[in-house]
Symmetry: C2
């Protein structure tokens, strides 16, 4: 069929993918041991390991040494880690511009809060509430604050129930985490900025609970682009087609 002989590790990757699609493998299942997999597919164990490493980084499997039910390679399908690694490295390698990452956050988070605000069903925002309360209850260092900030934004995505958007947002966030942290040092007054950010968080949550979709979207928009404008890191302006990409 194909004149090009597939590379050995690709054979393994394809076999696993086919097993997943055909239902022979499901989340929670164990992959065969590496040595068995190698023998079954007619490739070397190192090739199997290369494929498993890819699956691990992509968040499809988790590996553990030892023996027993918890050992071996297990299908987990946690997209967050893989998305983070991918976006972090692409930003590092200049495949992704930071400005584009911020703009994508605006799009995704804006539609998330708008959907949450206009959602008909019961929506659980207690997790977001708790994170906000934790942020406000005591003074935090910049790193602690940013960690909770990440959790807050992520909790909104999780409340929407969309796993794709949640994972993508987690990836985007982690990709520019270093920039956000570095930018905090450029601020004129960290206490002033953090106080403002907390107020904006409250405003976002209030708009969602009040069912004001447009207000929530605008609040998120101002929140995100405001911080990045203040830290001089990305010109995430509101609607203008930014020239930074080109």
């Amino acid at each position: 069929m194909t004149a090009i002989p597939a590379r050995a590790w690709q054979v393994v990757l394809d076999a696993v993918e086919r097993d997943l699609l055909d239902g022979r493998l499901s989340p929670g299942d164990h992959l065969p041991p590496e040595r068995t997999l190698a023998a079954d597919l007619g490739v070397g164990r190192s090739s199997v390991r290369e494929a498993l490493r890819v699956l691990e980084v992509l968040g499809l499997i988790r590996t553990a040494v030892g023996s027993g039910p918890s050992a071996g390679a297990i299908i987990v399908a946690r997209p967050g880690g893989g998305m983070s690694a991918l976006m972090r490295l692409q930003v590092a390698a200049q495949g992704f511009a930071v400005a584009d990452v911020v703009k994508t956050r605006l799009v995704l988070e804006g539609s998330i809060v708008a959907e949450l605000a206009s959602g008909t069903g019961v929506i659980d925002l207690t997790a977001s509430e708790q994170i906000l309360t934790a942020m406000e209850s005591q003074p935090l260092t910049e790193a602690e604050f940013l960690a909770l900030d990440t959790q807050f934004h992520l909790s909104l995505a999780q409340a929407s129930g969309n796993q794709v958007i949640t994972a993508t947002m987690a990836g985007l966030r982690s990709a520019i985490e270093g920039y956000a942290r570095a930018g905090a040092a450029h601020l004129a007054s960290w206490p002033a900025t953090s106080a403002r950010l907390m107020l904006e968080h409250r405003g976002i949550l209030t708009a969602i609970l009040a069912g004001q979709a447009d207000a929530a979207r605008l609040a998120v928009h101002a929140h995100i682009s405001g911080y990045y404008a203040e830290t001089h890191l990305a010109s995430a302006s509101t609607t203008t087609a930014s020239p930074t990409t080109r």
Copy 2:
């Protein structure tokens, strides 16, 4: 520092990432040969290869055998392939629900066409035009049609200039490509559906060129969710909180 000794392949991954962040590596540069990398980092060559395999799948490097300037591992930073692999496998492993993928497409593509429509600068849509013309010029098989359909949607993302959204869309699209193809077989009349899809494409493009952001967003929304509703694959309803996720 860390009581947990990092795994060997992660040492390599971290080293490459640090080199990227510090500017010691840039797109177009060669990575050191595997054997050199192994010796420099004090790990075995197989561990280096596992890391390089990850970087390759993630779209960060391209490898070639032989000698000369084109051989070896070269930084390329092409996010598309990695994003596609990640999303395809996550859908296969049920980490991503197809309904969520479709909903994310709605969000991203909706905001893309809205931004294109309201864009102040000159926007080049000739590529999208040409693809549409190619689709309309002759009868196509389902596979050919879907391939051009993918190209059309992707060309819009590329016109927006946002590399993150473009790559994400490419990944989402490829993740459900199999479902789209399988769904085409369930249609009552493929010629009728394809004709409708082409008309909708024209409508989207017209709305963009006319500067009607909301109309373009609605047209894209109807276009995408309509096809998936028709193929009974995903209940990508307009605004209702879908219960399919849980």
